[in-house]
């Protein structure tokens, strides 16, 4: 029947301004080329014949390339399908491995502002495995409360600590070095979700001292479906998925060779450009924040000031406006942005990150995140700043219709 209907013009939303690189970012052309080329090659890296050996060689080359880019040993790189899988492996795998050897290690400690891939994994352990889930508090600027970490570690029952390198909503950089120092003293392994950090700020696995680190491809120019858990050989890991015992026996499944190559190249390029890109993006972000706060004087910038934040990420709350109305208005103006927080079935949820930082629920529903990336220009920032006042005006009028509710007739 479809063939018979008149073809409507597909809605493309005329996105001219993409300010949502923290959600996903464009694949780099050279990465797409490597990916496409690898797709035409035959061979399962686990096979013993020539084609398999050849595939294995290429896989190990990708592993070495990725390891070198993030300051790790090749044997420490476990390829995954992305950040969520790596986070689940790091949290559940470490909990099971440690709790299995010492039942007294019955808690997982994760920051209250983690991505859902860590939070939900921890909460699942709480609900189904009887683990105690200790949410580590953050301060008003979204950085970890180290005193609370000390108190938590002092209980002596923590199997694993997971604290993200950079927060995906506010861009706050966490004091990973301080976390590692404290956890090391307590003999507790540390995982960090560095999905938003790799390629954006300097990340050196070995020097960071963490036991395991999550990275994903699609935030830095590789396709979705590529990622890795970089894990020291002494980071305790039990398998989460069972099967052919690939990847040190903890991540079964035939390896995504094209994805591994794409990931390795994208990480290499992003890391090589990181320093210059950070300067450029920080300037654009400051231009954006100056423009936004000038256009909407009561917009409130969240997260830490200065050096303790991602260069390409700006996050503001807009009083008396709902994120969904703001995002609709921006979308209609051809600007792609985000609230930064999760949505369920298309409904914006109040940000758990802002709630953990002490914001009230109204504010946690009013956040806008602008995340800049490799393709962002000053023209993008200026387009946003030009469009924003009218968008905020409309969203505030919409907000006024339901809080407090009006029962008057339509004007």
């Amino acid at each position: 029947m479809r063939g018979t209907r008149a073809d409507p013009a597909p809605y493309t939303g005329s996105v001219t301004t993409y300010l949502d690189h923290a959600a996903t970012s464009p694949v780099r052309p050279e990465v797409a080329e490597v990916y496409a080329a690898e797709l035409t090659r035959l061979g399962n890296p686990s096979s013993l014949h020539t084609a398999g050996r050849d595939a294995r060689r290429r896989l190990e080359e990708a592993r070495e390339q990725l390891a070198a880019a993030v300051g790790a040993e090749p044997a420490e790189v476990l390829f995954t399908s992305g950040g969520t899988e790596a986070d689940n492996l790091a949290v559940k795998g470490a909990y099971w491995a440690r709790h299995g050897t010492d039942p007294a290690l019955s808690a997982v400690a994760v920051s209250a502002v983690e991505h859902h891939a860590v939070l939900e994994a921890a909460e699942w352990l709480g609900e189904h495995e009887g683990a105690a889930v200790r949410l580590l508090r953050v301060t008003g600027d979204g950085r970890l409360d180290l005193n609370h970490l000390d108190e938590t570690l002092a209980r002596g029952d923590v199997a694993v600590v997971s604290v993200m390198w950079a927060n995906n909503e506010t861009g706050a950089l966490q004091p990973i070095h301080d976390v590692v120092t404290r956890a090391d003293a307590a003999g507790v392994p540390v995982h960090t979700d560095a999905v938003q950090a790799v390629g954006k700020v300097p990340v050196h696995f070995a020097r960071s001292g963490v036991g395991a680190l999550t990275l994903t491809g699609h935030k830095l120019g590789a396709p979705v479906g590529t990622g890795a858990l970089v894990a020291r050989r002494d980071y305790p890991l039990a398998a989460v998925e069972h099967g052919g015992r690939q990847e040190r026996g903890v991540r079964s499944g035939t390896l995504n060779l094209a994805g591994a190559h794409a990931l390795a190249l994208a990480v290499e390029l992003a890391v090589a450009e990181q320093e210059a890109e950070a300067v450029r993006l920080a300037q654009l972000r400051d231009r954006l924040l100056a423009g936004v706060t000038a256009a909407v004087p009561d917009a409130r910038v969240t997260g830490p000031a200065g050096a303790h934040r991602l260069p390409g990420l700006a996050h503001v709350t807009v009083a008396e406006a709902d994120a969904d109305a703001l995002l609709l208005g921006l979308d209609m103006a051809g600007i792609a942005a985000s609230s930064g927080s999760a949505c369920q079935a298309g409904v914006q949820q109040p940000s758990h990150v802002l709630l953990a930082m002490g914001y009230d629920e109204e504010s946690a529903r009013s956040a806008l995140r602008f995340s800049l990336g490799r393709t962002t220009t000053a023209a993008d920032v200026d387009a946003l700043v030009a469009a924003l006042p009218a968008v905020v005006d409309g969203a505030r009028k919409a907000y006024a219709t339901h809080r407090p509710r009006t029962t008057e007739g339509v004007a």
Binding site: P8, G346, V347, G394, A400
Partner: protein, 375 residues
Amino acid sequence: MRVLAALSGGVDSAVAAARAVEAGHDVVGVHMALSRSRAQHRNGSRGCCSIEDASDARRAADVLGIPYYVWDLSEEFEDTVVADFLSEYEAGRTPNPCVRCNEHIKFSALLDRGLALGFDAVCTGHYARIVDVPGTDGQHRRELHRAADTAKDQSYVLAVMGPERLGRSLFPLGDAPSKDAVRAEAAERGLSVSAKPDSYDICFVADGDTRGFLRDRLGSRPGEIVDTDGAVLGEHDGAYAFTVGQRKGLGLTRPAPDGTPRYVLEVRPEQGQVVVGPSQLLSVDELTADQAIWLADDVTAEEWIDVEVQIRAHGDPVAASVRRRREGGAETVEARLATPLRGIAPGQSLVVYRGTRVLGQATIAEAHRGAALPA
């Protein structure tokens, strides 16, 4: 016009949106999330409360090539439609949640939010017609009429929106000849919801179990079932679960002395009593309805006028005369029926028609019977 198309995930709203696009409007699709607990979404495809419905709405927007958003109106829905549903049953009346949803959600919360965001009108898949009649002063008078397909007509639940909101509404299916024709049109347009079953139940009540829903939300409130002389015939778990005119589910073990069936005649929540009796006591011919909303500026009805009235969503209109009364800020409609009707439940809408045109509506407060019940 910039039009906000409410997409429930059903076939009607999808075709209505398609027609609005075709008419040249700038259309944006919005699915209203009305259920507070997303985890307790109902299974299957009915109403507008399931994950499948949201997904169907999205796919319809994709096919039409329009933007699509989900708006969370669950708070407003709970505070108005669900709260009204519970308090009305609690007060012994029989609410119509679809009327309240049109009053508080579709043509209020949704429309107001849309207007604030720069839209001009809301488009829904309701079966009703809006007719612009040229007036003598060059101005158009906007009238609400029954749908061309009287079997599908939904003007009964729309009268509540009031005259101003009528000017901000589009019902592109008003002239559709039948539901089958709408389904055929959906199929022709490549809309995958074309064969989706109709929804009949109350969207927020799982499995159509209104009694179970009320018991969960209002708790058990045991009381007596009595006859018109006050004799106790049985017991119940909560008077709120009974509706005037109800015959089934009374749980009475002894038949009436004359063997005729017994019906609920009255619900007295403050005494916890449900009064039952023979069907002839259900007949009424005088009604008083409050919270009146009048659509027809040109028909004042300050004196008695001859009209037709409809007193339930799927009921035939009957000849009647009505009069509007205004006292203080309150406006009521009185109605005298040409022929008595049975089982008129307080809380239902009384909608006043002249031919196909809707003149106004009010909520039934009292129904007067030929034989008064003992207090």
